[in-house]
């Protein structure tokens, strides 16, 4: 057995240990976050005015008789003290049961299962388009001189500040009402996806391009770029082959956050474009005080958020060895 091999064994074992610990910490954190989200949602929706029993009875302002109300409260356990209701709800969640919708009377899991697809398709389409727009914009604004830089910066700031509902209305007015090119509502096909995707992608592209441009500019001043230039690389080649990879790193780690941002934006976009999805489900459920659905959607979004954060963390650890070393010396 050579000393070198022992050394490498120990190194790999301790690296495995560090990765396991990293994963455990994040798993523990995730469970805590999910518990906190479930608890906050449960109490928040019970603190705003409105009786969940009325959600069962077709909406607020119900003129249901006392008998009917009593029956509903018994059926759904709403006659118990709030603390007990909370523990019951938590117990159900722990056993993996999201409960039954008050208003729609179907299992929440089935409902969310049917709705999550539409939202994820929309969110990933918007993320992809936002990335492409941001790449194009930052490459152009860093390579086109001072005018392009300031115009690019203006576009980034403006688009990042656009509210979804305004953008959606303007896009519909232009591309549906005036030009007649695209349908304003979901048609089940790809054409119906274009306007909602753009509505979500344009503000996000503004954010991403801002981050990319700054890192791109920093990187272009770095010594390795100077040496690449010395080797005779063209300006475009430098930006595409060398600087861009570095500039993308912060944008990659932003993508986890971006997905959460897109799913919350889906509430507005799905409503305006009449697309089925989690956002619209959530809006209806909040209006009706349909506690199980609200809790289910919020938990699901939190879960997507957590998974994306862990995934982007892991990707960054893989891509950037400095992160792993920093942890080892702690």
């Amino acid at each position: 057995m050579t000393p070198g091999l022992t050394e490498s064994n120990r190194a790999s074992r301790s690296r495995g240990f560090r990765t396991a610990r990293w994963l455990l910490v994040r798993l523990g954190g995730s469970i805590f976050v999910l518990w906190a989200v479930a608890t906050l949602t449960f109490f928040a929706i019970r603190l705003i005015p409105g009786d969940p029993a009325e959600a069962v009875l077709g909406g607020p302002g119900s003129q249901a008789s006392q008998e009917t109300l009593d029956q509903v409260r018994r059926d759904y356990g709403l006659d118990l003290p709030l603390g007990i209701q909370y523990l019951n709800a938590l117990g159900r969640l722990l056993s993996g049961d999201l409960g039954t919708s008050y208003a729609l009377k179907v299992p929440v899991a089935d409902l969310l299962g049917a709705q999550i697809g539409g939202t994820l398709i929309l969110a990933f389409a918007a993320l992809t388009v936002a990335w492409l727009l941001a790449l194009a914009l930052s490459l152009w604004s860093t390579g086109g001189g001072r005018l392009a830089a300031s115009v690019g910066q203006g576009i980034e700031l403006t688009s990042a500040a656009l509210p979804h509902f305004w953008l959606a209305t303007v896009l519909i007015a232009i591309f549906s009402s005036a030009l007649g090119w695209l349908p304003p509502v979901s048609t089940g096909g790809v054409t119906g996806l274009i306007l909602p995707t753009l509505t979500l992608a344009i503000p996000l592209a503004g954010f991403l391009a801002q981050v990319m441009r700054e890192t791109l500019l920093d990187t272009l001043d770095a010594p390795f770029i100077v040496s690449a230039r010395a080797r005779g690389e063209s300006p475009t080649g430098i930006r595409l082959r060398h600087a861009l990879r570095h500039a993308s790193l912060p944008a990659i780690s932003l993508s986890g956050w971006a997905l959460g941002y897109l799913i919350s934006g889906a509430v507005v976009v799905e409503t305006i474009f009449a697309r089925p999805g989690l956002g619209r489900t959530l809006l209806q459920a909040v209006t009706l005080r349909d506690v199980p659905i609200v809790t289910g959607v919020v938990l699901l979004v939190a879960l997507v958020y957590i998974v994306m954060t862990i995934a982007t963390d892991a990707a960054s650890r893989l891509a950037d060895p400095r992160l792993r070393r920093a942890e080892a010396t702690r």
């Binding site: 705003i48 005015p49 409105g50 009786d51 029993a53 009325e54 069962v56 009875l57 077709g58 909406g59 607020p60 302002g61 119900s62 003129q63 249901a64 008789s65 006392q66 008998e67 009917t68 109300l69 009593d70 029956q71 509903v72 208003a103 729609l104 009377k105 179907v106 409902l111 049917a114 709705q115 509902f165 305004w166 209305t169 303007v170 519909i172 007015a173 232009i174 549906s176 009402s177 005036a178 007649g180 349908p183 304003p184 509502v185 979901s186 048609t187 799905e270 409503t271 305006i272 474009f273 009449a274 089925p276 999805g277 619209r280 489900t281 209806q284 209006t287 009706l288 005080r289």
Partner: protein, 552 residues
């Protein structure tokens, strides 16, 4: 029925106006409609865009709100209907008669009608439906309330059902005409709530085929259909192959989809889009005010300062309503001076009570002791400001109506009233009302017939339901009015009934308990290729039984 759509346009009118502006520009470029034919053509799927909330259950027995009524009218039918003059006409029941004491009603049913699952329509089915509505487990609100005086139903023969009442009910036929009391297949009901909510089984011209939540309900034609109401245009099955019933909550998207041809008909058309559509040759407008009460602002007489009739009159005299309606509704809504909808033949108006007169308002307030003004120009009495809380439901008041309330707020200030508008979502709004924290409120109420007056203005309506809800929001408590409304609800003679309701309305208007605005708005827009679509004169829901698509 008072529940309205949680999905009406909830954004500012400005964003919608942007789209409408472009729509207006385009309106001039639309090609004129081609040769019109008048012979119905069979076939085609009609695409309907509903701006109302997606129902949580398609069975209108459960809960019972307007979004349910809109779609249920396509596949469920009632015992009786109402014609355009307000007369009750046969539907599933061919004739009916009441005993002399008004406590027993016999309904004779058609003997040749079947539900779409093959179950025959008979007296037993009627009995099962009434029992279903009265069973607390059904969680019915509207239907349950309407059957308040019905104790039981007895099967006399296959085609004769006898209703036994606890007290005479002059509104029984009107109640039975409403879609919330439609007759469903007993076998369908027996499947249990979850399944029946997905696809109730009726005798209607269409059948629920599939419900994709948050998206659409597919309705297909009932080829064996034979039970149109007495005022329908044709017999036999419907012309359309089916209806795709979509849920498009956003007003601007809905209108853009109609312009682009993705949908054929839309509901909940907003004033700006109605104005745009009326200038478009390829679009038609169907104005179908809902029955029951008019849209009105209730003045809460149950608390200071409106417990003083002079202050109520001063408010009514101070505010300018007509200019606001004209500018905000683009001519789509006519001013009402009645507690009842203009479709109710028993409606009584008194325009003279509602003329704007700021001097008179000021005089009344001075006399009532509100004769000081504070630094902000609001009137003060005993150190208290003349302040009015006005909770507004963003689900029930469309953006144009919210703007109208802001104009009322501004004109009331001239007389020294401070109006505090608060925009609330439906649950919070009902919460504020249940806690009695309001002086002004606008709460629509849809019901067939003038008996809605008893619900809204009888002092019994001040006592809250178990949920905290109460219907008498103006909190009128007048024994004379109570007596008129009770007698009207029990009398069988039509003329005497009308005269009692007229006296009742005169008391409500004369006491300045309400400020009538306009009919409960209910506008549909459709392409001119949609022929013979109409609204049912019961609760003004659209019916597509006679409808056909020209050139498709």
């Amino acid at each position: 029925m008072h529940l309205a759509s949680p999905a009406r346009a909830r954004r500012g009118i400005a964003s919608v106006a942007a789209a409408a502006g472009i729509a207006l520009l385009l309106a001039g470029c639309q090609a004129p409609a081609g040769e019109e034919s008048t012979t119905p053509v069979e076939g085609g799927i009609l695409s309907y865009a509903s701006g109302d909330a997606e129902p949580t259950c398609l069975d209108p027995h459960v809960g019972g709100n307007y979004p349910q009524a809109l779609i249920a009218g396509q596949f469920l039918e009632s015992l009786v209907s109402r014609d355009a003059d307000g007369k009750i006409i046969p539907w599933l029941a061919t004739e009916w008669s009441a005993s002399d004491d008004g406590l027993s009603w016999e309904f004779t049913l058609r003997d040749d009608v079947s539900f779409t699952d093959g179950t025959p329509l008979d007296a037993e089915a009627v009995k099962v439906n009434v029992e279903h509505l009265k069973d607390p487990a059904t969680e019915s609100s509207t239907g349950y309330l309407a059957l308040g005086k019905v104790d039981s139903v007895e099967v006399v023969s296959d085609t004769v059902a006898r209703f036994s009442l606890s007290a005479p009910d002059s509104a029984l036929l009107e109640s039975l005409s409403m879609p919330w009391l439609a007759i469903e297949s007993p076998a369908g009901i027996a499947r249990g709530m979850e399944e029946n909510c997905q696809a109730p089984i009726g005798t209607g011209p269409f059948i629920v085929d599939e419900w994709v939540k948050q998206d659409h309900v597919s309705l297909v034609r009932n080829d064996d259909y034979n039970s149109p109401p007495a005022d329908a245009k044709h017999d036999g099955k419907a012309y359309l192959d089916g209806i795709e019933w979509r849920f498009i909550p956003d007003s601007a998207s809905r209108y853009a989809a109609l312009q682009g041809g993705q949908v054929d008909v839309l509901d909940n058309a907003q004033p700006d889009t109605i104005a745009a559509a009326e200038k478009t040759e390829t679009l038609a407008h169907l104005d179908a005010p809902r029955p029951g009460a008019s849209n009105r602002i209730e003045l809460n007489a149950g608390a200071e300062p409106f417990s003083d009739p002079a202050v109520r009159e001063a408010f009514v005299r101070a505010v300018d309503v007509n200019d606001g309606i004209e500018s905000l509704f683009f001519g789509s809504a006519g001013r009402s001076y009645s507690p009842l909808s203009s479709v109710e033949s028993a409606g009584y108006s008194d325009e003279s009570l509602f003329s704007t007169d700021l001097d008179e308002a000021n005089r009344l307030l001075d006399e009532a002791g509100w004769n000081e003004r504070d630094a902000d120009g609001y009137r003060v009495k005993n150190g208290e400001r003349l302040s009015l809380d006005f909770p507004v439901s963003t689900n029930q008041s469309i953006p144009a109506e919210q703007s109208l309330f802001e104009q009322i707020q501004a004109t009331a200030k001239d007389a020294g009233f401070e109006v505090n508008l608060s925009l609330l979502d439906l649950s919070s709004w009902y919460g504020v009302l249940a806690q009695n924290n309001y002086d002004l409120v606008s709460a629509p109420y849809t019901k067939v017939g003038p008996d809605v007056l008893r619900i809204l203005y009888h002092s019994d309506g001040i006592t809250p339901a178990p949920s905290g809800y109460f219907a008498n929001l103006s909190q009128v408590n007048n024994p004379e009015l109570d007596d008129l409304l009770t007698r009207a609800s029990e009398i069988s003679d039509e003329d005497e009934r009308a005269s009692l309701y007229e006296d009742a309305q005169s008391i409500i208007l004369g006491g300045f308990h309400i400020l009538p605005l306009y009919d409960q708005q209910n506008h549909f827009l459709m392409g001119t290729h949609v022929k013979d679509a109409r609204s049912l004169p019961t609760v003004s829901t659209p019916t597509f039984y006679d409808a056909w698509l020209d050139g498709k």
